[in-house]
């Protein structure tokens, strides 16, 4: 599959994760969110930015409990709790959040 951003096709795998991580942009994130039926609020963007920073620092898309723990520390308890995060990203805060953030699927093959 592919996303369309400003007339350019951005390739993604069958699950909707982009193939080339360098092609990410905020416009693309908005497109992915639309495809996922996620309405992006200011808090959503904060989580996306957090995820991208986490990946930059550790080369790792965090597992969901690590996301919740760190979001609490970095973004405050209002956002950083599993109930809120799951409501924001119904398909899984780590899974869906990382998809919109243009990161690999979290290695959580439990």
């Amino acid at each position: 599959m592919a996303y369309q951003v400003n007339g350019t096709a951005i390739e993604a795998d069958e699950e909707g994760y982009i193939v080339n991580l360098d092609e990410w942009s905020k416009e693309l994130a908005a497109e992915i969110a639309k495809a996922e039926n996620v309405e992006m609020t200011e808090n959503h963007w904060k989580v996306i930015e957090f995820l991208r920073n986490y990946y930059d620092e550790f080369q790792l898309a965090p597992a969901v409990r690590v996301l919740v723990k760190n979001a609490k520390k970095k973004l405050g308890a209002d956002i950083g709790n599993s109930k809120t995060l799951e409501a924001m990203f119904p398909d899984g805060a780590a899974k869906q959040g990382c998809k919109i953030a243009g990161l690999p699927k979290p290695t959580g093959c439990v």
């Binding site: 986490y54 620092e57 550790f58 080369q59 790792l60 965090p62 597992a63 409990r65 290695t107």
Partner: protein, 135 residues
């Protein structure tokens, strides 16, 4: 957790030349979710996994060394590195990257995850486990 088992992940291979180091780290990241008593051992060429300043731009392979610094988030806080293995390779602890974890019980104080141990201490650690997995 009373019935937690002691798991030791033994790393004796260098990174990049083979995939063992990366796939070992992937196991540890998953294992962290099972609330067992997890330790990592780095000896022989395994100590090369933790050197700082790894830069894989020139080989087109993902640099996974920063991921070791995320282990604290996953509550993996015991990385035992063997002193003799470092010395045999002309390295000392200052050649390794800094890896820390935040101690929730001590007001989130940052504590070092890497613990340099002698070969005899490493043997004691190995003998004190329930499950030893080697990579």
């Amino acid at each position: 957790m009373p019935d937690a088992k002691k798991f030791l992940y033994v790393n004796r291979k260098a990174p990049y030349g083979t995939i063992y180091a990366l796939e070992s780290l992937e196991v540890v990241l998953i294992a962290a979710a099972f609330e067992q008593d997890v330790s990592l051992a780095f000896l022989d060429d395994g100590v090369f996994q933790l050197t700082k300043d790894q830069n894989t731009d020139g080989i087109g392979v993902k640099n996974f060394s920063p991921t070791f610094r995320a282990l604290g988030d996953y509550e993996v806080t015991k990385l035992f590195v063997e002193k003799e293995s470092l010395e045999e390779r002309g390295l000392d602890p200052s050649d390794l990257q800094e890896i820390t974890w935040e101690d929730e019980d001590a007001d989130w104080e940052e504590k070092p995850s890497i613990r340099i141990v002698s070969r005899a201490e490493m043997a004691d650690i190995m003998a004190d486990q329930d499950v030893v997995l080697s990579f």
